[in-house]
Symmetry: C2
């Protein structure tokens, strides 16, 4: 459970969604802590109930564990329930590019619709639990649940939009602007999940952030150092405290 500020290290309090690990496999979407964010959030009650029946819950992954392997046949969608993961791809020469980070309630594997194979690796950045939605069970549902169909299109559209927006925004600001944008975006997403938008732990390394933003890890480190000296935030290892979020947000510039 990253993304939660802790006074003492190594005593991560559990997130709501997995406070009772034994019950995980039995719980329904309706009683899940993420039900306002997750895939079934916009379905009608009846649709949500039917959808509920096809979700495989309670799967766990250790830090570094692989959720999706690039190139394998697409057979399911995955929704992170607690913890976090990174989506990335590895080029022929071995360099890694991080496409994004998957937070609780977010879906991975969507790009597999392109050619029935996953294009990205997805790996846990910390102990992570997730739900699996097998396509063989999802597909038939699309016949009779127009809401679910719309939701699938919406999810894909959103992923596309986010990817375009990311490219646009990163493309036109310098290194510090990119890091600022990254922090502001993360802060916003954590707040959506009921976590503190100003105090959190980064589950990803500086290198991951760098490979996500198209920078080097040294440059990311320097950007954080600059923000720290400016009094905009505090950094201690992966623990971040935002002191002047507005400053970061304005610098990262959610430019439409």
């Amino acid at each position: 459970m990253a993304f939660q500020m802790k006074d003492r290290r190594h005593t991560d309090p559990p997130l709501a969604a997995d406070c009772c690990p034994g019950a995980l496999a039995r719980v329904s979407c309706r009683s899940c802590a993420l039900n306002t964010l997750c895939l079934p959030a916009r379905l009608s009650p009846q649709e949500a109930r039917i959808f509920d029946g096809v979700v495989e819950r309670g799967r766990q992954l250790a830090s570094g564990g692989s959720l999706i392997r690039a190139g394998t046949r697409m057979d399911a969608l995955y929704v992170v329930r607690s913890g976090s993961a990174k989506r990335y791809s590895v080029s022929l020469n071995g360099t890694e590019r991080v496409h994004g980070f998957v937070l609780p309630g977010e879906t991975a594997g969507l790009e597999g619709f392109a050619c029935d194979r996953y294009a990205c690796e997805v790996a846990a950045l910390e102990p992570t639990s997730y739900c699996r939605i097998p396509l063989t069970r999802l597909e038939p549902l699309l016949d009779h649940l127009p809401g679910l169909r719309r939701e699938m299109l919406r999810l894909l559209g959103e992923a596309l939009d986010e990817s375009l927006r990311l490219r646009a925004e990163l493309g036109m600001c310098d290194a510090r602007g990119r890091v600022a944008r990254f922090l502001a975006d993360l802060s916003r997403r954590l707040e959506l999940r009921g976590l503190s938008p100003t105090q959190f732990r980064l589950s990803m390394s500086r290198g991951d952030i760098a490979r996500h933003l198209g920078l080097t890890l040294e440059t990311v480190s320097r950007a954080l150092g600059t923000f720290k000296r400016s009094g905009w935030l505090e950094v201690r290892a992966r623990y971040i405290t935002l002191l002047r979020p507005e400053a970061l947000a304005s610098m990262g510039g959610y430019a439409a």
Copy 2:
């Protein structure tokens, strides 16, 4: 009709799809020159026939004309039939970011599924004709045509995948590599459409290419100059002749 080498200027020979402008509005997808590339290409004959009925054909746009306005309500998908267009967005400070170029048979407006509004501007780069597929007619079809449903998911997945891949590839090569990749990609797509992969006219300006690749127009111009001096291609204004496509392709590196 750009993307076709001409000996004399201003005498653009028409593409197959619109050789008889008067007949445009009546023609069906089956008899369209793009039918192996376009949206209905993977539908069963019956499905394709039904889909045919909802397509509004024969729409025309002058160079610079607007196909989609960002922020307006999403009410249709658009498929370019002849000519070409650019997808772009304009930030608050007025800077423009080009997300990509739409070639005949390619679909624009997909990102609108995210929130029922288009996120990108799409504008013709030359006299362009296109088909419009209204959502009000498309939606009901999804109930009964599983092939069309799959095709929609595939289209969105492909757009997502392409966006991710673009970011990954551009992110890790220098200016010349990006321009090389751009040319190699364009060449490939032109060949798919039965046009010459080695001789073509760029319908977009150097500035458009630059804003697409995250460079300045001067840098794009210099990259082309370098390739020219290396004997890899010939450039005369917007007319390109690739002399050593392999060199460009290897430089652009379709790195998986």
